[in-house]
Amino acid sequence: MAVTTAPAAALGAYAARRERRKAIAYGVFFLLVAAAIFVLFVRNSAPGMESTFKLNPATRERVIEVPDLVVPTRETLLVLAGLAGLLGVYQVVRGFRRVVLVLGLVALMFVAAFLVWAVRDKSINLLGIFTFAVAAATPIAFGAMSGVMCERSGVINIAIEGMMLTGAMMAVIVSSVTGQIWFGLLAAVLSAGVLGVFLAVMAIRFRVDQIIAGTAINIFALGITSFISQRFLQPIPALNSGGVFPKVAIPGLSQVPLIGPIFFNQTPIVYLLFLTVILIHFMLFYTRWGLRTRAVGEHPRAADTLGVNVFKIRYVNVIIGAMIAGIGGAYFTIGSVGRFDEAITAGKGFIGLAAMIFGRWTPFGGFGAALIFGFSDALQAKLQVLGKAQVPIPTEWLLILPYLITMIVLAGVVGRTVAPAADGKPYVKE
């Protein structure tokens, strides 16, 4: 039955009261953040302390130098706490129209306060954190792009993890044997693509539950790669030394202060990611293939009645999506450490899926979410380097905190996410 629009009575007294309660809850949360900055950070810092953030690459290839950012610790923290408090008061009294953006801002202020406090009387290379964040975000973002490709056409792909793992291993083997690192990348793409064919046939042709089919692929990939790793890769080093893509600075762009070193002095796999994100966005929203993909993911029968081949679109998308996951897999071996270890992907495929959802099934959204996850990784690594005396928090908690903030921000900023309507539903032709 067709949906008629909700009556205008929708904004009655009850709805208004509920909106108001929600607005106040946001305000109280902002005030709590302000209080937390004060209690946790301001009170644990002394007057006269300074926090130093270096904004130039640690290596020597810098061209245009930027002065380091030095701020007085206590005063900065007080300002941040005060700002968060003001935002909270305004939110309680009047209420912001776009409160989710303010929520993001407040969360950002908390992270900033945490950083300022953590490096009191010390220095940290902020640029290094961001550069590392982009690298750490790369496989997650490839996972998210793989998910976008599959789910936009209506097939859930939770096998991204398994596809990445397989891609990671095949990349290192082929690269080791041939000595050609690009062949390694190609092997990763093709091997993940084979798993994609398998998922596609199971999900589209045989209409197997897609979660179960995906889980089967994940278990299979984990088993087979662990076996090959133990049996061949660990004992025979010649099979497990594929080399690493070198960093390639893009002339010109890499010399732009701040942005350059972060985005444009990376490995080719990272550049491939940028291209993939832009290309998927363009394809999805501006081309015939994209329109058909979105239609098939939302209402396959409608597309079918207009002569669109639902099955063909889904096969193509799932297989290409799998190949993209393969590139993400290659990052783990030939994109960073050059060798394969058991379960080297460590759940990044699943995090990629989370990034896709947070990014509302859009390429740029997924990429942005992946960057935040990558930043969490980088931050936690750097804070551990600062040492226990400086950051008296157990490492495990440090690992959790950035993710926690990420969740809060994204849940607030993104709000309710809506998957493609036919996501995960097999299509049966009449």
Partner: protein, 521 residues
Amino acid sequence: MTPVLELRNITKRFPGVLANDHINLTLEEGEIHALLGENGAGKSTLMNILYGLYHPDEGEIYIRGQRTQINGPTDAIRQGIGMVHQHFMLVPVLTVTENVMLGNESVKGLVLDRKAVAARIREISQRHGLEVDPDVRVEDLSVGVRQRVEIIKVLYRNANILILDEPTAVLTPQEADDLFEILRSLRSQGVSIIFISHKLREVLALADRVTVIRRGRVVGETPTKDANQAMLAEMMVGRRVALTVQKPPAKPGEVVLAFKNLKVLDNLMHLAVNGASLEVRAGEIVGVAGVQGNGQTELVEALTGLRPVQDGTITIAGKDVTNASPRVITECGVAHIPEDRQEDGLVLPFPIHDNLVINTFYHPPFANGWVVNHEAIRQQAERLVQEFDVRTPSAAVPVATLSGGNQQKVIVAREMSRPIKLLIANQPTRGLDVGSIEYIHRRILEKRDQGVAVLLVSAELDEIMGLADRIAVMFKGKFTAVVDADEVSKEQVGLMMAGSSLEEALAHAPKPVSKEREIVT
């Protein structure tokens, strides 16, 4: 003159069913040809064959005298055939432009040429009076406008044979009239139209010719100027059908159901019922008229204990049942014919006899304390299947195997076979054919005359006009008018359903002329 389209001896078998049995159909250029038949008669199957969604087992299709194979929608579209499906084939999150071009996209290089398509849509909408904004998302459009988008989709593909499958089922009377205007205008421009319907009045008002199908076979074909309702109904059902109800005046008694200032939320936590008040007396039928989505569903769910009440009170036979459990309400003598019979009315995999006691199984004689008496349940089922004319091989078959009309009869049998004071019927005849509609209407009237208070909710204005003694118009969660059924015309109620006040409606629309009640058209 060669007909635009000719179907010869089309036969289609499904496992156990002969859906189309050597059907012949001829469509002339520039005519509106109605395909009339009960639900399950095989109309939609035939049209799906024509549109290439099914393949016929036998028979031939000729288009402009040329024998044609239609293997899929693409072939149909290429042959100039366009179809507006009963359930709209639109992608809600896409814009009108995107929906229209889907499958037949204009591109500039690689990029979709949205501007060109939008311009084409504007041109088509101007030429045919199909007003719509190409840049709006379909999910933001009303049902009537969505249907226009469907028609534009077909015209965009230059179709000259247009098939409409039950197009008025989801429309208000005004929207239906607009649709008919559009179809007439298309006809005058040479488009040939097949109009599928089971509503006699529509067919007579719109079509040039009508072909009647019963149980997969063509039982007759006639120009509509030579036809009348009684004749078509008889052809369609295969026996004489009473098209009007003999309805003695109501003798209202005590107030049985009363609710005051009721407020109920919908699933999205919006206020769907916003301060509705009404009284229903013993021995009268109060019809709730309204376009779907104005709070009727939530109102009925609140009255039957299926949805919490935020504010206001409900009393049934003097007892306060606000937010009481469904069982308490049932025990007060309330019968409920739910809107979605398969979702809320029946347990589909259960046999008929269990479905018949699903609200009384814990009472003697069906149970003695803890133990269920299967024999008593079976005996009662045998009796009710007889009495309520449920067509089934046995009462032990799963209720899912019955047709829609017979499923509804099972519900009616269950709800009416026990002593009740109040009957709440929500869309009791939705999707049913003339024969079943007639039957259910008779049963509802019988209950009224036995002194039961009846609250009838229906999107079919004809049903409300035919059965109700009083009409309550529901608009945006409130009753905007409660009037005696004899004092208003259908057009006036239609205006109020669209938001006019009682005064405006009485001033503008034609007054009631005929007291004849057509309830099954």
